[in-house]
Symmetry: C2
Subunit: 450 residues, 2 copies
Amino acid sequence: MSGDLSQKIWPRGAFRDRNGVVCIGGISANDLVREFDTPIFVLDEDDFRARARQWRSAFEDSFGIDGVTVYYAGKAFISVAVAKWVSEEGLGLDVCTGGEFAIATSADFEPSRIAFHGNNKSLVEIQNAVAARVGLIIVDSFYELDRVAQTALAEEVVQKILLRVTPGVEAHTHEFIATAHEDVKFGFSINTGAAGEAVRLALASPHLELKGLHSHIGSQIFDTEGFEIAAHRVIGLLGAIRDEHGVELESLDLGGGYGIAYVEEDDPLSPEALAQRLYEIVKVKCDSYGLEIPHISIEPGRAIAGPSTVTIYTVGTVKTVELDGGRSRSYVSIDGGMSDNIRTALYDADYTAVLANRLSTESLSASRVVGKHCETGDIVVRDVELPIDITPGDLLATPATGAYGRSMASNYNHVPRPPVVAVSNGKARLIVRRETQEDLMRLEVPEGGS
Amino acid sequence: MSGDLSQKIWPRGAFRDRNGVVCIGGISANDLVREFDTPIFVLDEDDFRARARQWRSAFEDSFGIDGVTVYYAGKAFISVAVAKWVSEEGLGLDVCTGGEFAIATSADFEPSRIAFHGNNKSLVEIQNAVAARVGLIIVDSFYELDRVAQTALAEEVVQKILLRVTPGVEAHTHEFIATAHEDVKFGFSINTGAAGEAVRLALASPHLELKGLHSHIGSQIFDTEGFEIAAHRVIGLLGAIRDEHGVELESLDLGGGYGIAYVEEDDPLSPEALAQRLYEIVKVKCDSYGLEIPHISIEPGRAIAGPSTVTIYTVGTVKTVELDGGRSRSYVSIDGGMSDNIRTALYDADYTAVLANRLSTESLSASRVVGKHCETGDIVVRDVELPIDITPGDLLATPATGAYGRSMASNYNHVPRPPVVAVSNGKARLIVRRETQEDLMRLEVPEGGS
C-alpha cells in the first residue's frame, strides 16, 4: 500500500504513519475526524502556500520579477483565511463577483492587487469595486465599458482596465479547438472587430486607463498549443493597436486554466516548464510584431488550491453489485456526495480515493464511491480499486478536491456543507466551520412575510 | 406574443396582463421584482396545491381512496411552508435525509405520513426518525436492515419498513433499459437473490414490520413501458414471497420520476392517464400471480413542484456572437446562473425563457440565456428565441424551475441564493428569504479555531 499517496495527486505533506493512517499536515485522519467529524475538507496550508510561491517564482524566473503578476483565481476556493495566505505569498487576487470581493475585503486584501472579472458584473458590484480602488477591472462588454467609465466619472478616478478578448481558441486537457468565432458569453471578439472597437472606445475615455488585454482559453489544460494560437492572435491585436493608435499596451493577461493531476494518468506541466514555454511563445510573437514583451499576468486557481485539499468521508454502507459478464462492483457509500463534490457528475471528472484510517493487506476490487443523495448520478469517484475489506466506519479520503469542491457545494437534500480545516505542522484550525441544521433553517419564513 | 405562456409549461395562474407583463398568481413580474428584487423564484401556491390534489385524486380514482398513498418527494423542493401545504392537501411526504426530516418536523408534519428514503442514512438519522415514530423507513441495504432493527429494539417499537429492490430497469423520458443487473448504489437486487434474503431477514425480525417493496426506475419518465417491466419483476417477487413465506405483502411503492414539460416538445402523461395505466399494469400482473392488488404508493416530486415555479432574472448584458456559416447567437446574461439552476449544465436539460416585463413586437433571434458565473458552461437556457430588442434592465422569466432549482442551488462565486416567494390570489409572501453577504460570511473563521 505504500506509494498509494502519489505526490502527484496528494498534498505534499501527506503520508501514511506507521499504522497506515493517512496524515496531512502532520495530523492523522483519525485525529482530524475525532475533532471535526466527517465529511471534512482538509486543506494543507503549507502545500497551498508552497504552490502559490512556486507559481510566482516560476513565472518571475521566466518573465522577470517585475515582468509578471500571478493572480490567484478565487473562484476555485476562497475564504478569508485563504485570501490572507494569498496576500502574504505576494500574489494578486482574481475575483468575479461582489461576494468574492467581500471576502477579499474582509481579509484586508490590498484592493490595488485585485482584478475584478465577470461577464455580467452588476452596477453595484462595479461601484463597490471602483469605490474601493480595485486595481483592475477586466471589462467584458460594451455595456460594461460604459458602466465602468460612468462609475469612474462619478467617483472622480481613472479606472485601470483590461479588455477581455476572445481569440477563438478553446482548450481542455490535451485538446484545443481554434476557430474564427467563439460561441461563448465572454469577451470581445477579435475576429469581428469588436475588440478593436472596444480598444478605440477605452482609449478615448478620460476615465478609463486601458492597461491591456485579457484572454482565457479554457480549463484543466495540459498543453501549450492552445496558448500558442491564442497568443498569436492576441499579440497580433496588440500589434494592430500599436499600428492604429501608436500605443503599445502594457499588459497581457493570459488567464488561467492550468491543469492538475486528479488521477495518476494525468500529466500536467510543471509551473516552471509552463512559464518557460509561455515566455518563449510570447517572446517569439512579440518579436515578430516588433513589440516589447508586455507585463504578463496569469490566473492559476485550481493549480494552487486543487492539490492542497483532501476530503475525508466516513463509509456508511458497502454493497457488491453484479454486472454483466460476471464482473462485480463494490458500491461504497459515504456521508457526503454530490453536495460537496459536484464535479464528477457535472464534468464527468475523475478522482481517486484511498482507505484512510488503516492499512489493508486485502486484495483490491473495482469500486465506486457514491454519496448519500437520492440520485443515481450521485457519484464521487467513478472507478477506483479499493480493498475488499472496507467496511462501515472506515474513513475514505479523496485527494485533489480543493478546487470547485467546497466552492460549488450545495445543500441538496438539506445536507449541511462540510467545514474546511487548515492543517500545518501538526496543528489543525477551522477556517470555514461546518454548517448546521440551524444554519439551514435560518432562511425559512414558515408563516410567510413580505 | 399571446400563447407564449403555454399552459403545458407555465403555472396555471400565469398570464400576460394588458401591458404584456407576465403575471403569476395574480401579481405582475414587475411588482414582484420591485418588492423582492432579482433573481427570484416565484412559486404559484395554487398551482402547487392543485397539482398535489390532482395527483392524489387521479390515483385515488384508479386505485380506490384507501388503495393508494401519494408521497410528495421533498428532494425536488421542500421548505417549512411547502411541507404544510403538502400536509394540508392530504399527501404523505418522502424525505431522504435528516435535514429534510427536520423541515418536516418544523412544519409539524405528522410523522406517520412520512417515508424515509436514502441509500446511506446515518445511524443518527435512523434514530431520530424511529424516535419520532416515522411512518415508514425504506430500507436500502443489509447494514441498514440491522441498524433499523437495533434502533427499533432500543426504542421498544416495531418499525414499519419497505425494502427497496432493484428490478433491473432504468427509465428516462422515452427510453428505458431493462437488464438482469442494475449498476446502481440503491436497493437489493431481485436477480441475485439479495432482495429475497432481505425479505427473509425482515420477516424474521421481531422489531421490523415488513409492509412491502419499493422500486424506483428513473427520472423525467414520459412512458409506462419501464414501469411495466419493473412491475412484472417486483410483483413476481411478491408472488415468490407469498409462495415461500405464505405472506402477501400489503404495500408496493412504485417510486417517482414522472416527467414534466420543460419545453413545448415535452409530452408527459397526465396524472389521470398515468394512474389508469399503472392500475392496469399492476392489475394484470397481480392477477397473473393470483395476488390481491397491494396498497400502492407513488412519489411525485418534480411533477408537483416543477411547473409551479418561475425564476425571474434581470438582464445585465446582451451580446451578439457570430457563428460559423453566417449565423449569429444572442448571449443574454442574467443576474443568476448555474448557482440557482445547475440542471442545464448537469443534465444538459432544456428550458425556455420569455421577456417578462413587457411585450415586444420585434422579431425573434436565436438566443442563449447565460449566468454571471466565471465559467463557459454557465448556461441557463441553451436555445431559445427571444426578441431582438431585449436590453439590460429587462426581466427574463424561466418557467418550470420549481424542482431541483433552489434545492440544488449553490453559493458558487459567493453568489447569494435567491429567495422563494409564494404567490396566490394577488398576494406574495416570502417563504424562503434571500441570502445575504452576511449569511455567506457566517461560516468564516478568519483567525482560525478548532
